[in-house]
Symmetry: C2
Subunit: 72 residues, 2 copies
């Protein structure tokens, strides 16, 4: 499924922008570090509630996490 | 969680625009009618793969389903 990958790449991008480790981001979200890693690699079928937690921790809007730079 | 509600309202809106019943949309997505109803009411913690299936069936971009008309 394509959007898992878009989401993973964007989470990685915004995490780097904030200079956060996966561990630190995980701590801010109340999620596990290995889960964040798997989401960034598009391996997990993440739910809307967890997407929202990550967006809040990264201080971005949820829609920013779905933006596909390569277009449609 | 706020985005469940945004998503539910937008799915309902675009389903109405296409003149689809919950049953018909469910059929197009390979999901169950009662599940679509629950998602529209913000009752389910829907996953990214199912969000993508619904967006494809409604012929909208995933980001359109997260657009919050009331702003932030």
């Amino acid at each position: 499924m394509r959007y898992r990958m878009v989401l993973g790449k964007n989470i990685h991008k915004y995490r780097m922008k904030k200079g956060l480790s996966q561990e630190k981001l995980a701590e801010y979200c109340g999620l596990h570090r290995t889960y964040i890693g798997a989401v960034e690699r598009g391996e997990r079928n993440i739910s809307i509630d967890n997407i929202e937690k990550i967006a809040n921790a990264l201080e971005v809007d949820v829609t920013q996490l779905f933006h596909n730079e390569r277009g449609h």
